[in-house]
């Protein structure tokens, strides 16, 4: 890394050594302090939980050269391993001719992320950031309807770990070449090639994986119609070791497409996904398989991202290695006060499998089908479907109301014993009502009702319901007082609890500083972002977050 920084410093020194230097400096610092103290639940087992995290992000720009760093004190950290020191640092130079270079830490997405999408999500303890160098070049030719070209070279290292097993670190050396060409503003063509060498620890042996990942993408952007398509092909070669004594190769691919149409007061978007990065037999599936989709890839999930507390509690976990499906999203706004949203999505695995062994042993065989490019609703395909209807009404300057209905079905097929497959059906009605007493004071009431059917439970526990209520009094522009409550009659709730209560206060001290304090109990559960899902344990206690910008 040091050599990259040295190269950039030399390059910059050369570029400013001639002529008079006129310093143009700007700087910014933001700070996030998070503290929590209470108890965390693993089933009914309660254990003390305390965390303290302080992240300071600083940015200094001098004549087009930007220096940035993050100083982190996470001791104890909420998720992952404790850390005190400089977590991120970078230096970046931008020249007006269209070239820019960055050395250090950065995140990057190429097109829609089929071949490269590295990002950080602190709430999930997820970070696939690259430590290396990135050189971009962008140039437009012509003025009225310019032709544009964009080129990018990336090289660096990624250290990836899951917060549930933070000590297991997968290391990747990655090289990327990316090019985009736009002959007219309505058309963008993209080509990129990713090559990586992965070092994956497994049972005290490290497995080395070489991966080639080319991608092509296309965008057509007309006034009423927008069409996008991307295809990437992954080819992995695993070097022989004691776990994989014979050379192992894995080939897979992914296709994503979207078609959006809007005219007048209606907008329609259709997404299609066909991810086959590592289709394998049921007993071979694993989150650590060396030929699986790599952590630096993250294609679109093609399903609705909900904001309702109860709907988000039962997310569909996308399997990027083996999933086909899509979603249809319609927005209709008959007036400027009324908006309707209809969303439907469906997904499944590509194939079903049969046990061909007649003894007690298991030997699976794939049952091929010619229409594997469309999802199936048959149970052996582990199907997921949902539909969502929402109406939103700004009745007046003082009154706002929203009502929605969501129906979801998620099947997790058990290949060994199909009768033990889990089928989860949920129906949820989220509502929101807002009344503004004055220009400053507003009362918001959120009510969510959910009915759940879980086929795997014993008969009397199969059906249960959840309720969530939230009442917020806000005073613009600086105060929010919130009281949340949640109830369930689920007798198999892991913590054994039936109710949760949480009080929260957020206050903006001024334009640059805000503080959020909460006390009470949180139900926890599965939390997803960008198709990455983590189980968050239930928590009871005190939390505080202070946000500052200097």
């Amino acid at each position: 890394m040091k050599k990259y920084i040295l190269l950039i410093v030399i390059f910059l020194s050369c570029s400013v050594s001639y002529g008079q230097i006129n310093l143009n400096v700007d700087a910014g610092v933001s700070n996030t302090l998070r503290y929590g103290n209470g108890y965390e639940y693993t089933g009914r087992l309660r254990s003390p939980k305390e965390y303290f995290e302080n992240l300071t992000d600083a940015r200094l720009n001098v004549n087009g050269v930007t220096f940035g760093l993050r100083y982190e004190v996470s001791d104890p950290i909420e998720y992952g391993l404790n850390f005190v020191g400089i977590r991120k640092r970078y230096i970046e130079y931008e020249h007006e001719i269209g070239i820019s270079a960055r050395a250090g830490d950065y995140w990057e997405i190429i097109s829609r992320g089929l071949s490269l999408n590295v990002f950080e999500d602190r709430a999930l303890g997820y970070d696939t950031g690259i430590d290396g160098i990135r050189i971009n070049y962008e140039k437009s030719f012509g003025k009225k309807n310019p032709m544009k070209v964009k080129g990018q070279i990336i090289g660096g290292d990624i250290n990836y770990s899951d917060y549930l097993t933070p000590e297991r670190i997968e290391k990747y050396k990655i090289r990327v070449v990316n090019g985009q060409f736009s002959p007219v503003k309505q058309i963008v063509l993209g080509l990129d090639y990713v090559y990586s060498i992965g070092d994956l620890p497994e049972e005290s042996v490290n497995t080395v994986v070489h991966t080639d990942l080319p991608e092509a993408n296309f965008l057509l952007n007309l006034p009423e119609v927008q069409f996008y398509a991307a295809y990437s092909h992954k080819s992995s070669r695993v070097s022989p070791n004691t776990i994989y004594p014979a050379p192992l190769t894995g080939k897979g691919d992914g296709f994503y497409s979207s078609l959006a149409y809007s005219k007048g007061k209606i907008g329609v978007t259709l997404d299609y996904k066909n991810y086959r990065y590592d289709i394998t037999l049921p007993d071979n599936r694993s989150n650590t398989r060396p030929t699986r989709m790599l952590p630096y890839q993250n294609p679109p999930t093609a399903q609705k991202e909900h904001t309702s507390t109860l709907i988000t509690r039962n997310p569909h976990v996308v399997d990027f290695n083996d999933e086909v499906g899509g979603q249809l999203d319609i927005v209709y706004a008959p007036t400027d006060k009324l908006t309707f949203n209809l969303n439907g999505s469906i997904a499944s695995r590509h194939y079903q499998y049969q046990d061909t062994d007649t003894t007690l042993l298991v030997s699976y065989k794939r049952v091929d089908r010619s229409d594997s490019y469309i999802p199936s609703l048959d149970d052996p395909f582990s199907p997921f479907w949902e539909y969502y209807l929402e109406g939103e009404w700004y009745a007046s300057e003082k009154v706002y109301a929203k009502v929605a209905y969501a129906r979801q079905s998620n099947t997790t097929y058990n290949q060994l014993n199909p009768l033990s497959s889990e089928k989860l059906f949920t129906s949820t009605i989220p509502t929101e009502f807002k009344y503004s007493f004055t220009k400053e004071y507003t009362l918001t009431l959120i009510s969510e009702m959910q009915w759940v059917h879980n086929s795997l439970r014993i008969s009397e526990d199969k059906d249960f319901s959840n309720q969530f209520f939230s009442l917020t009094l806000s005073r613009s522009p600086n105060l929010n007082l919130t009281f949340n409550s949640e109830f369930t009659n689920d007798d198999e709730e892991p913590t054994g609890k039936k109710s949760w209560f949480l009080g929260e206060v957020s206050y903006k001290l001024n334009q640059s500083n805000s503080i959020l304090v909460s006390y009470g109990s949180e139900r926890g559960g599965l939390r997803c972002a960008n198709g990455i899902c983590r189980f968050v344990k239930p928590f009871q206690g005190f939390r505080m977050a202070v946000q500052t910008q200097f």
């Binding site: 992000d57 829609r112 809007s262 700004y394 918001t444 613009s476 001024n510 202070v546």
Partner: protein, 169 residues
């Protein structure tokens, strides 16, 4: 971390003293039709409210609903409301149809690698910065609470008024 409590106490004590001194950064981003939009060019006409938003952010959508009439009211005076989209790869395909169906007339641009958001030290959404034609950030709003639009409108009016006063001088 034996000094943790001291750390928190000192930090909280210093909070209100933190002054607001963020600086302006120019940028060029692509709008819904593929055209380049440059902040500097918009500032030549008058003040600009740069607002970061995403389709999955409920308060962002409420803020947009409330700011659309404000934009219509003051755009003839040179004011621009520039919505900078932060949707990621999974929802970016819905942006254009959402904006068109909602009937919004303000310019919307894409910031796909969040470079502009990072340059303005964004940490959450909605996040708005009101920038004067003199390239000074005169107001910042992190988050949205119903009623914030009245304060934002006052800030825009003040900025337009100070601009016209300067022109008269």
């Amino acid at each position: 971390m034996k000094y943790r409590n001291l750390y928190i106490a000192v930090f909280l004590f210093l909070l209100p003293l933190a002054s607001f001194s963020q600086t302006y950064n120019d940028f060029t981003l692509t709008d819904l039709e593929g055209n380049d939009v440059t902040l500097n060019d918009l500032l030549k006409k008058g003040p600009v409210l740069v607002s970061f938003w995403a389709t999955w952010c409920t308060p962002c959508k409420e803020e947009m609903k409330k700011l659309q009439p404000i934009y219509e009211k003051y755009k003839a005076d040179g004011f621009t409301y520039l919505a900078v989209n932060q949707d990621n790869q999974k929802s970016v395909s819905k942006v254009k149809s959402y904006i068109n169906a909602s009937g919004y007339s303000f310019p919307v641009v894409f910031d796909p690698d969040k470079k502009v958001f990072e340059a303005y030290l964004g940490v959450g959404m909605p996040y708005s910065l009101l920038i004067s034609p003199q390239k000074k950030i005169v107001a910042k709003h992190l988050g949205y609470v119903t009623g914030d639009e009245y304060k934002i409108e006052e800030e825009i009016k003040d900025l337009l008024k100070s601009g016209s006063d300067e022109n008269q001088k």
